[in-house]
């Protein structure tokens, strides 16, 4: 449908049908986010009005944002990747061990090579999983579940302890803050503190914009939608379905590598417990952001708002005083459940119309 709107731009009827699919879900998501934030500002005054509160959400979720974007790509082609969370953990651990060795002078290297390692790990996972899913036609869930457990095992094989990085240039990079002009708050002593974001957020937002443009305006990006919408008709249109699926997984792997490094930048350490359940949050964000599990419908901007909604609800749960760890998980589960049911209702209505 979305492809049709591109090809038959002048056909108004087609355009409207694409609006009801993608944009309706997007509008729901954005509305949910703003309602939630407004409620938080009104009912839980502490903090939510400060600009820094909002930027902290971004600081904490830069990595999740990139992971979710990768997940959205795969989900648009009709697949899923549940290995991203453990790949993040593996990336953190490997980079931490590597940088500590560099710090001790055991191997040559610098921050840049550690970035390359992170990307290489992500790419490797993406390529292997993409090959298995696209060319050997395995179920994506099984393949990536195996990937999840492989990454989990590898993380503990690399090291089973928590490793804090003390390598000087990296720590400097971690601590770098980008101040936002014109926004800030006055603290108790009356000193003006400008709002800031970490380097990771800038990277994450760049990834979001890049992927948005990629999906919207490149041929390959439109192919993603076509393949997810209907495999066979995409094939008949002359699209290489297998290659498209493969590339979606490779891109998702790359995003997992980047996301992993951003998590590493935020945490400044490696641990087998890092990014536990991140795959779940990424899937939830994509679904909340209006990506349909059946494929063919989805939007990166929606995913951005999905991540924001998810983290806002987490913050609200914490500031309500329900800070026992289980409440956040239960809320996320409940929220996912609600959005899944909304999706399935939308799908049912759409099928009835046909």
């Amino acid at each position: 449908m979305s492809v049709n709107s591109n090809v038959l731009g002048e056909n108004k009827l087609k355009k409207r049908s694409s609006l009801t699919d993608t944009n309706l879900l997007l509008i729901i998501t954005i509305a949910v986010f703003f309602t939630m934030y407004a409620c938080a500002v009104i009912f839980l005054k502490q903090g939510f009005l400060k600009p820094q509160m909002f930027f902290n959400i971004l600081n904490e979720n830069a990595s999740l944002l990139v992971l979710s974007c990768g997940m959205t790509l795969v989900m648009i082609t009709g697949g899923i990747d549940i290995s991203v969370g453990q790949v993040t953990s593996l990336v953190c651990m490997t980079c931490a061990v590597y940088l500590q060795k560099v710090n001790d002078g055991l191997i040559a290297g610098n921050v840049f090579t550690s970035m390359c390692i992170a990307l290489a790990i992500g790419l490797a996972f993406g390529i292997v999983q993409g090959f298995l899913v696209a060319y050997l036609e395995f179920q994506p869930f099984i393949v990536t579940l195996a990937g999840l457990f492989f990454a989990k095992g590898m993380t503990t094989i690399v090291s089973s302890d928590r490793i804090a990085v003390t390598y000087e240039p990296f720590v400097k990079l971690c601590r770098t803050e980008v101040t936002i002009p014109f926004l800030g708050s006055v603290n108790k002593k009356g000193i003006y503190i400008p709002a800031y974001v970490e380097v990771g957020v800038v990277v994450a937002l760049a990834v979001v914009i890049l992927l948005f443009c990629f999906l919207k305006w490149t041929k390959l990006g439109r192919n993603f939608y076509a393949v997810g919408g209907n495999n066979q008709s995409a094939n008949m249109l002359g699209i290489n379905v297998k290659l498209t699926k493969f590339l979606a997984h490779v891109l998702c792997g790359l995003c997992a590598g980047i996301g992993g490094y951003l998590f590493f930048l935020h945490a400044c350490s490696g641990s087998p417990l890092h990014a536990q359940g991140a795959e779940m949050n990424a899937i939830a964000s994509s679904i909340i952001g209006g990506t349909l599990l059946s494929g063919g419908v989805g939007n990166i901007i929606g995913t951005l708002f999905g991540v924001l909604s998810l983290s806002t609800i987490k913050n609200i749960v914490t500031s309500l005083g329900l800070d026992e760890a289980w409440w956040t998980n239960i809320t996320v589960g409940a929220m996912l459940c609600v959005f899944l049911i909304i999706q399935s209702a939308i799908l049912a209505i759409r099928n009835k119309k046909k």
Binding site: F150, M280, C337
Partner: protein, 368 residues
């Protein structure tokens, strides 16, 4: 001469095509590796335990004992796979919930009550746990059946929230039961040298065998898995069948949770039955069942479960730590699905046919 060769190939082909072939071969390979590495691996001895009972001990016994939960789960997982074409990845988390429920009720009554009352408490708490697990199964099942969500995504909800719910049920307390009688179900009953979970597994297997024998469950689940809409046209309610398989899995999960907490008489919410969903799916896959739904073979799945426990024990034997094991198992999964992938099978068949054709043409030329 050629005819005898062909018949041999036919027999061999039949053997290879049998669903029990892959798990049994895997089992034989593992046995061979273990015999090679350590000839005393299969030694079984009768030794007094710490409480003074005579019990059987040895690697083989511990494999059969520890595989009990997996074998019971494999029953439910096979049915769910067959009917819905997907797997339930929330089983580990639901086991935590079931175990937490059992402990909550046993803890309420436990201190120093007589045998008869204690049995009543155990039966009551077990029933409650079965009902709760069946309800969670029904929750998953209704998301799959009525809202048409892919099973793995629908169960992802409980996969995240399940362990938190389990902790919430008991207020995150570290409950442990001091009554030794509670441990009978996961360990040994005094006077009987065989671990109790083995008996529980056998009972479960007998029940499911009887159910499959005297009801149409097998036929219905398979037909729903192969083609839901045509089975609906034949008067089967696919939604109900899918829901039913998830409820059966819920009951299996309850039994597993009960055994799990009985083994240690306590619970650690984040660790109990860790990674068991992977093992259960692996058992189904190893049994040669199509993970996309349809025909199934329960015996193969159950043998698959024992093979996986065998693999785990073997890896432990080679000093692989428990958290590293998942990496090795993932490799096994990938290999398995690689072998069973339709594309690969077709490719192998093509190669074989080509060889056969070229050989035939050679024979023909020689005859001429």
């Amino acid at each position: 001469m050629t005819s005898s060769k062909i018949s041999a190939r036919g027999f061999f082909g039949k053997l290879v095509r049998n669903q029990l072939f892959i798990p049994l071969v895997a089992l034989l390979i593992l046995v061979a590796i273990n015999l090679f590495a350590d000839p005393t691996f299969f030694k079984i001895s009768l030794e007094p335990s710490s409480t003074g009972n005579l019990i059987l001990s040895g690697n083989l016994i511990s494999i059969i004992d520890n595989a009990s939960e997996l074998a019971i789960l494999a029953i439910g997982m096979t049915l769910v796979t067959s009917a819905s074409g997907g797997q339930d990845i929330s089983v580990g988390a639901t086991i935590a919930i079931a175990g937490s429920m059992v402990l909550r009720f046993v803890k309420m009554y436990s201190p120093d009550i007589s045998g008869g009352k204690f049995a009543a408490v155990i039966i009551f708490s077990f029933l409650v746990c079965v009902v709760v697990s069946a309800l969670f199964g029904a929750f998953n099942g209704s998301l799959v059946a009525f809202f048409k969500i892919q099973p793995m995504v629908a169960t992802l909800i409980l996969f995240t929230a399940g362990r938190s719910i389990a902790a919430w049920i008991n207020n995150n307390d570290n409950i442990s039961i001091n009554d030794a009688r509670f441990g009978y179900f996961g360990n040994f009953i005094p006077g009987i040298p065989i671990p109790t979970p083995v008996f529980i597994t056998v009972i479960c297997l007998i029940i499911i065998a009887l159910v499959l024998k005297f009801t149409n469950l097998r036929l219905y689940a398979q037909s729903v898995g192969i083609n839901a809409s045509s089975s609906r046209l034949n008067g089967i309610n696919p939604k109900l069948i899918k829901l039913l398989t998830f409820i059966i899995l819920g009951v299996c999960v309850a039994v597993c949770g009960f055994i799990k907490v009985s083994r240690t008489s306590s619970i650690t919410y984040s660790v109990i039955a860790n990674n068991i969903e992977m093992d259960a799916i692996l058992a189904v896959a190893l049994g040669g069942n199509n993970l996309g739904g349809g025909k199934f073979n329960l015996t193969a799945s159950v043998i698959g479960a024992y093979v996986i426990q065998f693999l785990t024990t073997t890896l432990f034997k080679f000093k692989v730590s428990s958290s590293e094991i998942s990496a090795y198992k993932a490799v096994v999964v990938i290999l398995l699905i690689f072998i069973s992938a339709p594309v690969v099978r077709k490719w192998i068949a093509d190669v074989r046919n080509k060889n056969l054709a070229s050989r035939k043409s050679k024979i023909g030329k020689e005859a001429n």
